[in-house]
């Protein structure tokens, strides 16, 4: 019996790979000043402020301040505890047991008592995230989770359908409170919670001002210690140049993304720090394949050959970026270095259009069966800065040379998102994607991701791409995943659902009064609770 007990004990030991990282619950008594306000410039207003329905960078930055995940990822690419203070992973990699902190409370709503964060909230978040009525791009990312079960108030067990690469890191998704949304089963963009969320993070949403500013205040009860800066205010700017000017004239303290043309101006100014951060991002013209004219690959490729991307990059962005060839950023591990960007070749563009059955009409516009090749390009108005305007006008002009008529429509950010992601009412868009380190393009190009508020807004569908994406998700082999991504890169470059443009230099700029600034290249504010402003420099 004793022997059996010993064997069982050993099995338990072997079965559980126990990781017990230290907890960081102590308040920040680190001698750094508390107080002050950080006004930062954003290029628009967030559509929603919750981590489930939002799909833009402005919202992501704010949700990073308001919410926490079970785990976090630090600057050294290590997984660190957040809402879970420790975890266990079964030997087969299918069961993750998280032991939650018992000292975490939700941001209080007005006239409400503090409520504790518990296992129920984790189960609730998973259920709401996977509910069919919840419109979120998270669903595809978390389909590998079979179920989340509460073991007790502070323990949850997550069963995976299959082991996946870097599974633990994926539990960094943000947890929302069970008492948050008005509907207990699902979350929509109409729910008041998405505009007035509460979380467990270092900052609490105070209000949205009439000027569309988002005001966040320090969470005095933050489990990792009160953050140093009292208040964060996100100020939207329609024009990046004006945002930089606002920084220069001390109207704001930080710009999250400096317009490349403004870098020389800021570089010489001793009041500011220019900090690079490498978001894996790129810009593109995306096509709506629901338009039969654009469903023809030859037309999409013709547009790709017709635009002189290097000329645009040099002229409009001071050459501060890199022309790309496919669906990954050059700084990504998945970028296929063998695929060359499409060259500028207007003659080849004309040839392709002719091959696709287009003939030039009397007005110079190409026609196919009497239908003119006239397309609508929709651009969010927040991108209506000088450089983007020039890109759009240059695009129109390049395409005119090959007989394609482009009608440009600038739309307000939220209305643009609705046109693109919900109504799919456009032919071409100009936009950018920003990726975290995973370089996961599944939600962009898999055919299952076609639908309202999904990322495959152009309805691109290719069984070979689908199959490679699925295979990439299923494999536990890093090199296999790399090979598949190289293939995907080459295939998607050839298929041209987008005309891939460039990746730009990313710099944040901030006033030197702000200290201890570390920036997460994707989420930006992950380490903001440690930032501080010395007392003498607080306004």
């Amino acid at each position: 019996m004793k022997r059996l007990a010993g064997v069982l004990f050993l099995i338990v030991l072997i079965t559980l790979v126990v990781i017990v990282p230290p907890s960081e619950a102590a308040p920040k008594n680190n001698g750094k000043s508390d107080g002050g306000t950080l006004n930062y410039g954003e290029y628009g207003r967030p559509a929603t402020l919750d981590p489930i329905t939002s799909n833009d960078m402005i919202s992501l930055r704010i949700t990073e301040l308001i919410f926490n995940g079970l785990v976090g990822i630090n600057e050294r690419q290590e997984i660190v505890p957040e809402l879970a203070e420790r975890w266990e992973i079964s030997n087969d990699g299918r069961t993750y047991t998280f032991y939650l902190r018992s000292d975490v409370t939700w941001h209080p709503r007005e006239d409400e008592e503090l409520r504790p964060f518990t296992a129920d909230d984790v189960v609730f978040t998973y259920n709401i995230m996977t509910h069919p009525k919840t419109i979120t791009s998270l669903k595809v990312r978390y389909e590998f989770i079979g179920g989340v079960t509460k073991l007790d108030d502070y323990t949850v067990e997550c069963k995976l359908k299959r082991p996946v690469l870097n599974a633990l890191a994926k539990f960094s998704f943000k947890i929302i409170p069970q008492h948050g949304p008005s509907t207990p089963e699902y979350l929509t963009r109409e729910d008041p919670f998405v505009h007035k969320p509460i979380g467990t993070g270092p900052y609490m949403l105070k209000n949205l001002t009439a000027d569309r500013e988002v005001v966040l205040v320090a969470n005095e009860n933050y489990f990792n210690g009160r953050p140093h800066v009292d208040k964060f205010v996100a100020k939207p700017f329609a024009d990046q140049n004006i945002m930089t000017q606002a920084l220069m004239f001390n109207a704001i303290d930080m710009v999250v993304l400096v317009n490349p043309r403004n870098i020389p101006e800021l570089q010489g100014d001793k009041r500011f720090v220019l900090q690079p951060y490498n978001a894996l991002s790129y810009s593109f013209f995306g096509y709506n394949m629901r338009n039969p004219l654009l469903a023809d690959k030859r037309v999409r490729k013709a547009i790709g050959y017709a635009v002189n991307r290097q000329e645009m990059l040099d002229a409009f962005f001071n050459a501060q970026g890199t022309i790309i060839s496919g669906p990954f950023a050059p700084g990504s591990w998945a970028y296929n270095l063998d695929v060359r960007p499409l060259p500028y070749d207007p003659q080849k563009a004309r040839d392709l259009l002719q091959e696709a059955g287009f003939v030039q009409g009397t007005d110079g516009i190409m026609e196919q069966n009497g239908e003119k090749l006239s397309l609508t390009l929709k651009v969010p108005i927040e991108k209506e800065n000088e450089a983007v305007k020039r890109v759009v006008l240059a695009f129109k002009s390049y395409l005119k040379k090959i007989g394609v008529d482009i009608k440009v429509e600038f739309k307000e950010w939220l209305s643009w998102k609705e046109s693109v992601f919900l109504k799919h009412d456009y032919d071409i868009i100009f936009a950018s994607w920003v990726f975290d380190d995973s370089a996961d393009i599944s939600s962009l190009f898999h055919s299952a991701e076609i639908g309202p508020w999904k990322n495959n807004f152009g309805a691109y569908s290719n069984p070979e791409v689908d199959s490679l994406i699925v295979e990439s998700k299923l494999t536990l082999d890093h090199e296999k995943r790399r090979t598949i991504n190289r293939k995907l890169h080459a295939l998607i470059a050839e298929e041209s659902p987008y005309t891939f443009l460039w990746t730009l230099t990313n710099y944040a700029a901030y006033n030197k009064k702000l200290r201890h600034v570390a920036i997460h290249p994707y989420k930006f504010f992950s380490f903001a609770d440690h930032w501080f402003i010395p007392e003498e420099e607080q306004k």
């Binding site: 870097n166 591990w333 380190d437 290249p521």
Partner: protein
């Protein structure tokens, strides 16, 4: 850096008949200023045979400088490649099971050999050779490597016996053996003739030489001084090619690269630079300038006595500008350090920093200390104070030097901080505006702090001019893909 180029240009104008804007020399110097060394060297070399006699020595000086900078850069890239590739191969070799790589052992053996660990290299080669599924050709290549490992361990006869039993019918094997003979100094085996045979055999088959053959031939040409032939070969070669692609299971292929390629390119350009500079030094009009760069080149390739001699000659000249004399003085101190007079050299450098706080001089002292792996806290303190005093291009050299110093000290946070301060932010990764040596150091610091994408972006831009560094990119992507931890998120912007 630009000042050095201007110095050289000034010498041309003072010493040579006349140069128009479209003159090859002028264009070569423009390319040099942009750090397009390969292009500059190729362009000037193609004009060398037709240049007017009065201009030849100036052109040789120019070619010498360009080749030296290229050699220095390839040396740095080689070291970066070795370190990243060893990380990558170790991770690959940890994979077991059906989809494991067989070839990882061959390339680990080669990497250990390059890293100066013949014992570990031999063990990897033996394991590879013992694998029954490996082709005869690749086993022969591994045997050449094993022989070299033996040779480096002092078991010379064992090496010779092993090599003598290798069948050399495959041009890759023939060139591999030629390179081994050349490395071992066995010139009586005629390695350059063996290389010619390998190249001829490939040509006869209507093929282009593989990257392994190129790597070997460039190494042999470098050691035998066949510069013209080497430049012709390099001009037509695709330097980004992989050495072997291993197909394991469906949708899993691994590409392996030849690490020695970068070292051989460094040796080759180093040898070329010495040749050109010596030729230039024969002309009294450019002798002093040639001696300045010859001193640098000899020091880089470990010929300290020669470096001392020519640097002394440069310092004794009354015509040369002060700032170059200062730099040459720092080099002489470094030479003394390497000859064993360490305390004297360090005291001298400290005194120099104390007396003169010119940014370029402090930077030179810091670069030198980093290269020699010797601490210089006094200079560091002075440089930091200077760097703190403000921003601007004139302090770029100090910031970059501080960053390099901290990189050597493995304080990667500080290394990034200072090199970022010295980087031209308007042209972040462009080699035209940033010294590629500093960019390589910065990429190393980012790699060590696991900011892989920053490092990869630097190499992405650099590879447009130096395609041979593809081997670093691919290995770094491999490490990144294994190390990355993220939620798989993507957002529209």
């Amino acid at each position: 850096m630009k000042r050095v180029a201007l110095f050289c240009v000034m010498i041309f104008f003072l010493t040579s008949p006349s140069y128009s804007a479209d003159d090859p020399m002028q264009r070569g110097m423009e390319l040099y200023k942009k750090h397009h060394y390969e292009e500059a060297a190729r362009m000037l070399h193609s004009y060398l045979s037709s240049v007017q006699p009065g201009k030849k020595s100036a052109m040789c000086l120019s070619l010498g400088m360009i080749c030296f900078k290229n050699a220095e850069l390839y040396r740095q890239l080689y070291q970066a490649s070795l370190s990243v590739n060893l990380d990558y191969l170790k991770r690959l070799s940890a994979v077991k099971g059906k989809a494991r790589s067989r070839f990882v052992k061959l390339y680990m053996g080669e990497a250990f050999l390059e890293a100066g660990n013949p014992r570990k290299a031999a063990s990897c080669f033996r394991e590879f050779i013992a694998d029954k599924q490996i082709s005869t050709k690749h086993k022969a290549i591994a045997r050449v490597g094993l022989g070299l490992a033996h040779y480096r361990e002092g078991k010379k006869q064992q090496a010779l016996d092993l090599w003598s039993g290798i069948k050399m019918s495959a041009p890759e094997v023939l060139s591999e053996l030629a390179a081994a003979y050349s490395t071992a100094g066995l010139t009586n085996r005629n390695p350059s003739v063996m290389c010619e045979k390998a190249l001829a055999s490939v040509k006869k088959a209507g093929q282009e030489p593989s990257i392994r053959i190129l790597k070997n031939v460039i190494g042999v040409y470098a050691r035998t001084g066949l510069i013209k032939k080497g430049l012709d070969l390099v001009r037509h070669a695709d330097m980004k090619g992989f050495s072997y692609e291993e197909v394991l299971v469906k949708n899993k292929t691994i590409r392996f690269y030849d690490f020695a390629l970068l070292n051989n390119l460094s040796m080759f350009y180093g040898k070329a630079s010495l040749g050109y500079l010596k030729e230039a030094a024969a002309d009294p009009k450019v002798k002093d300038a040639a001696h300045y760069y010859l001193g640098e080149a000899h020091a880089l390739f470990g010929n300290i006595d020669q470096s001392i001699k020519v640097t002394d000659s440069f310092l004794s000249s009354s015509r040369m500008p002060r700032q170059y004399k200062d730099k040459a003085t720092v080099r002489q101190a470094a030479n003394r350090y390497q000859k064993g007079h360490k305390t004297e050299a360090i005291n001298f450098l400290n005194n120099l920093s104390r007396q003169k706080a010119a940014p370029d001089l402090l930077a030179e002292v810091l670069f030198t200390c980093s290269r020699l792996h010797c601490e210089c806290p006094e200079t560091v303190a002075k440089a930091m104070a200077l760097a703190e005093s403000g921003e601007g291009k004139n302090l770029s050299s100090v910031n970059c030097a501080l960053g390099t110093y901290y990189l050597w000290q493995k304080d990667y946070g500080k290394a990034v901080f200072y090199m970022e301060a010295g980087r031209d932010k308007s042209n972040k990764n462009r080699i035209e505006q940033n010294d590629p040596l500093t960019l390589t150091n910065l990429a190393e610091a980012y790699y060590r702090t696991k900011k892989f994408s920053e490092a990869l972006e630097i190499y992405f831009e650099m590879s447009k001019h130096f395609p041979a560094l593809r081997q670093i990119q691919v290995a770094m992507q491999g490490v990144y893909s294994m190390e990355q931890k993220s939620a798989g998120d993507v957002k529209v912007f």
